[in-house]
Amino acid sequence: MKVLMLCSMGMSTGMLCDRIKAAADAQGVELTIWAASEINARENVGEADIVLLGPQVKYIKDRIVDMVENKIPVMVIDMVAYGTMNGEKVFADVQACMEEWEHD
C-alpha cells in the first residue's frame, strides 16, 4: 500500500508518517508512506494508492479528489489522532477507508 500524506509544510506530517509505518510494521502490513506539502501535491499523487490530508489542509479535499480524478480515496486525518500523533489510529482509519473504497 502506498500512502501519501499532504499537509501545509510537510513537517508535522513527517513525524506522524513514521508512527503510521511503525503501526503497519507491527501488524506485518507492507506500507510505503511519505509526506509532501500540498504545494507539491500534483507531482506526488500519481504514486499513491490513497492520499491523506492533515486537518490543516482539509479544505483542499475537493481539489485533490479532482486531481486524482476520483480514482483513489482521499481521507482527512482525524484531528485528535493527528494532534496526539496516534499512528495506530490513523493506520486503522486508512485500512477502513481502503476497504470501504474497494467495496464501492
Binding site: S8, G54, P55, Q56, V57
Partner: protein, 108 residues
C-alpha cells in the same frame, strides 16, 4: 517543561489551530456556493476548535510568565503560532466575505 511535553502541546496546537483554519476556509467556500447552513456549521466547528488551541496556548504563556525561558522556541512552536494567526485571519476575512456574498445575492 520537558521537550516532549512541549512537542506534544505543539502538535495539539498545530492540529486544532490548523483544523480551525481549514474549517474557516471551508466556510468561505460553502458560502461562496450559497450553502449557508454548511457555512454556519463550519464556523461553529472552527470556533470550538480554535478555543481548544487557544486554551492549550494559554498554558504555554502561563509557563513562560511563571518562569521566563521555560518555553524554548522550537520550529514546531513557530509553525503552531503561524497556524493560529492564520486561523484568526481567516475568521476575520470570512466574516467580511459572508457580508459580501450576501450583498451579491441581494443584488441579483
Amino acid at each position: 517543561m520537558t521537550e516532549d511535553q512541549l512537542e506534544q502541546i505543539c502538535f495539539e496546537l498545530i492540529a486544532y489551530a490548523g483544523s480551525a483554519r481549514s474549517e474557516y476556509i471551508g466556510a468561505i467556500q460553502a458560502a461562496s456556493a450559497g450553502r449557508w447552513d454548511e457555512a454556519e456549521a463550519k464556523v461553529k466547528d472552527a470556533t470550538e476548535q480554535f478555543m481548544q488551541a487557544h486554551n492549550a496556548h494559554q498554558d504555554l504563556i502561563r509557563a513562560e510568565v511563571e518562569q521566563p525561558g521555560a518555553v524554548p522556541v522550537r520550529i514546531a512552536l513557530v509553525h503552531a503560532e503561524d497556524q493560529m494567526a492564520s486561523a484568526e485571519s481567516f475568521k476575520i476575512l470570512g466574516d467580511l466575505f459572508f457580508d459580501l456574498y450576501r450583498r451579491m445575492e441581494r443584488e441579483k
